[in-house]
């Protein structure tokens, strides 16, 4: 299909709940084939934004355009959705659950192909409510893909997974993206956003506070790196140290644009550099800089 303009466009979404403005004037546009991330802490309004786009909630105001037009019945048939929390019907196996959802769509992917893609072969006949965290997320992803959607929404798909399962899931998402499916993903893991997303917005208190590609965001906001030391190794008083110092989870962080100078200052203070680590800026630092808070609070 010839396409001009973005696949999905959101304009000035607003949603109030009693006492809170959950979404406060959010706008963005997503080109076909991209992986678009919505990054932010819990309660930032990511899920509400996503569920308004999905049609689960009505916005108080704002517009949502799919292929340049307001959403219609075709939208439901062409998108796939993975909620943050989903209950599955009881007493159905993985295979039966997939068959049920495949039956709800007029068109879709062959189940065998989907089973191979999401690596469900090992537990097809198991009760869908008795899966490990990673298996369950793969099944939910397969359910979101069952209609061969042009656009999928993944709401915090890796929350609660162990690191190995999370990495496996990332591989899957990358494969789906490589297949040409447009992806909208929310997460509060900055690493996830950095690995998967072509483009992202950072949300806080219902607003977008930054947007762009991960690289552009970082280079725009930072021109420095971070030096990290275990707190025990930092043997001088932070107040008397010539450079600004931050304490963070048992570590000492120095933010500096001139690394040579910072290292020399540390050495001059008699601090051991044996366990010194130098790392580039991350989205987590960006969030801290923009809001004064850590992402996962």
């Amino acid at each position: 299909m010839a396409m001009n303009g973005p696949l999905l466009e959101v304009r000035e979404l607003v949603k109030h709940y009693p006492g809170v403005c959950a979404v406060d004037g959010v706008s963005f546009a997503i080109e076909a084939g991209r992986c678009f991330g919505i990054l932010g802490p819990n309660g930032a309004g990511k899920t509400t934004t996503l569920e308004i786009i999905e049609g689960i909630h009505e916005p108080d105001s704002g517009a949502i355009l799919y292929r340049g037009l307001p959403r219609d019945a075709r939208f439901r048939e062409e998108v796939g959705i993975q909620f943050q929390q989903t209950a599955l019907q009881q007493y159905l196996t993985v295979h039966e659950t997939l068959r049920l959802f495949r039956g709800l769509y007029p068109r879709g992917r062959a189940l065998d192909e989907l089973i191979a893609l999401c690596r469900l072969e090992g537990f097809l006949e198991r009760d869908a409510n008795r899966l490990s965290g990673g298996q369950r997320q793969r099944l939910l992803l397969a359910m979101a893909l069952v209609n061969d959607p042009a656009l999928i929404f993944l709401d915090e798909p890796t929350t609660g997974l162990d690191p190995q399962a999370r990495r496996n899931f990332w591989e899957l998402v990358a494969a789906i993206r490589a297949g040409g499916t447009t992806i909208v993903l929310t997460t509060h893991y900055m690493e996830e956003a950095q690995v998967l997303c072509d483009e992202l917005v950072i949300m806080d208190h219902g607003r977008i506070i930054a947007e762009g590609t991960p690289e552009a965001l970082l280079s725009h906001h930072f021109d420095d790196a971070v030096l990290e030391l275990p707190e025990a190794d930092f043997t001088v008083a932070a107040e008397t140290f010539p450079l600004p110092v931050y304490r963070c989870n048992g570590r000492i962080e120095l933010q500096c644009s001139d690394i040579d100078h910072a290292v020399a200052t540390l050495q001059a203070a008699g601090i051991s550099l044996a366990r010194l680590r130098i790392r580039p800026r991350t989205l987590e630092d960006l969030f801290l800089k923009l809001t004064g808070r850590e992402l996962r609070q």
């Binding site: 999905e54 049609g55 689960i56 019945a73 439901r76 048939e77 959705i81 909620f83 929390q85 989903t86 209950a87 599955l88 019907q89 009881q90 007493y91 159905l92 039966e96 659950t97 068959r99 049920l100 959802f101 495949r102 039956g103 709800l104 769509y105 007029p106 359910m143 209609n147």
Partner: protein
């Protein structure tokens, strides 16, 4: 496409039900336990005193007056002769007297020992009142075994089972789906609310028929009960009645989120129905206010139609008012349920 969606949902729901051993077990066990328990409790035929004589028409001669003078006999005036003959066949009354001017007819049942004794007593009373005269008396003979209480209550127990299955299977389960997010996930598909509700309804009707028909057949055999009327008509009553009970459950299912509240509401609906719909005792002779109240409950109409077919051989024409009431209630419940329905 719509059929495909319905099929997928109905199959899934059927599997969910048949694999839930507790629900299925309860569904099969409840009527069996109640009926077998009642069969033992009522296995001794109780001696019925006083004897009952139905009286049709007014006594016009002294001889006829004499027939109404026996002590320890209840004389019950009746309007419909045909119905009263049924009652003689079913041992609900022991004898039927019909006065037509000076003519007197009576109906007696060969299979009822009380009828034999009553007949002797009446003839003796007549001879005493008008000695030497030939009484103008015509005798009519009917036969038929008494309907035992357990046989009579069997349709009621099954109807209660159907009622619980319909109300909870739709009302409670949909509320649970809404609470735990199954409905939310379904909503994210092209599925429409009406399709979802229709699928629940079809699945539940199918399961209820699947459970109730063999249960009824098996227990009727066990109790020596033969259906007088058409079994197909009985199946129709089962379908129409179940439909109305499911529609009732849909009102509860429409938008509640709390399972506790749904449970309370379902209790509030099911208990009065269980007590007032004539499940355990006949509504004949009950207080008119209670009869009027019972007429508002779908279970009453389902049961009266079913018992009419089973015990009195009623045809479509005779049960039509009950079917009409059920259809009307179903339409009302569906309209309210569909109007109130929310995915979340």
């Amino acid at each position: 496409m719509r059929l495909r969606r319905l099929y997928a949902l109905v199959v899934a729901r059927n599997k969910e039900f048949t694999r839930d051993r507790h629900a299925l077990g309860w569904n099969l066990l409840f009527p069996l336990v109640v009926v077998i328990g009642l069969a033992f409790a009522f296995s001794e035929e109780s001696e019925r005193m006083p004897w009952k004589v139905a009286v049709h028409g007014e006594a016009a001669t002294p001889a006829q007056e004499a027939l109404l003078g026996l002590r320890h006999v209840d004389y019950l005036p009746v309007d419909e002769l045909e119905r009263a003959v049924r009652s003689v066949e079913r041992h609900r009354v022991d004898l039927l007297l019909a006065f037509d001017g000076v003519q007197t007819r009576y109906w007696s049942n060969d299979d009822n020992p009380a009828a034999y004794l009553l007949e002797r007593a009446l003839l003796a009373a007549l001879a005493e009142a008008a000695p030497g005269q030939v009484p103008e008396l015509q005798r009519a003979q009917v036969s038929g075994a008494q309907v035992s209480y357990v046989q009579w209550v069997l349709p009621g127990v099954l109807a209660v089972n159907i009622m619980f299955s319909a109300l909870y299977g739709i009302g409670f389960v949909t509320v649970r789906y809404r609470k735990n997010g199954v409905l939310k996930r379904l909503r994210a598909t092209p599925l429409r609310a009406s399709d979802f509700l229709l699928a629940q309804l079809l699945s539940r009707i199918w399961l209820i028929v699947l459970v109730s028909v063999p249960l009824f057949a098996g227990m009727a055999w066990f109790l020596g009960l033969a259906v007088e009327g058409s079994p197909w008509l009985l199946l129709l009553v089962l379908l129409v009645g179940t439909f109305s009970l499911i529609a009732m459950g849909m009102i509860v299912a429409a938008r509640l989120v709390s399972e506790e509240l749904a449970d309370g509401l379902l209790n509030l609906i099911s208990w009065p129905m269980m007590l007032l719909s004539g499940v355990w005792f006949s509504l004949e002779g009950a207080h008119p206010a209670m009869q009027a109240l019972a007429a508002l409950l779908p279970l009453t109409h389902m049961l009266e139609a079913a018992r009419g077919i089973i015990f009195d051989g009623h045809g479509l024409l005779e049960i039509a008012p009950h079917l009409a009431a059920l259809v009307l209630m179903t339409a009302l419940f569906l309209a309210v349920g569909a109007r109130l329905f929310r995915w979340e």
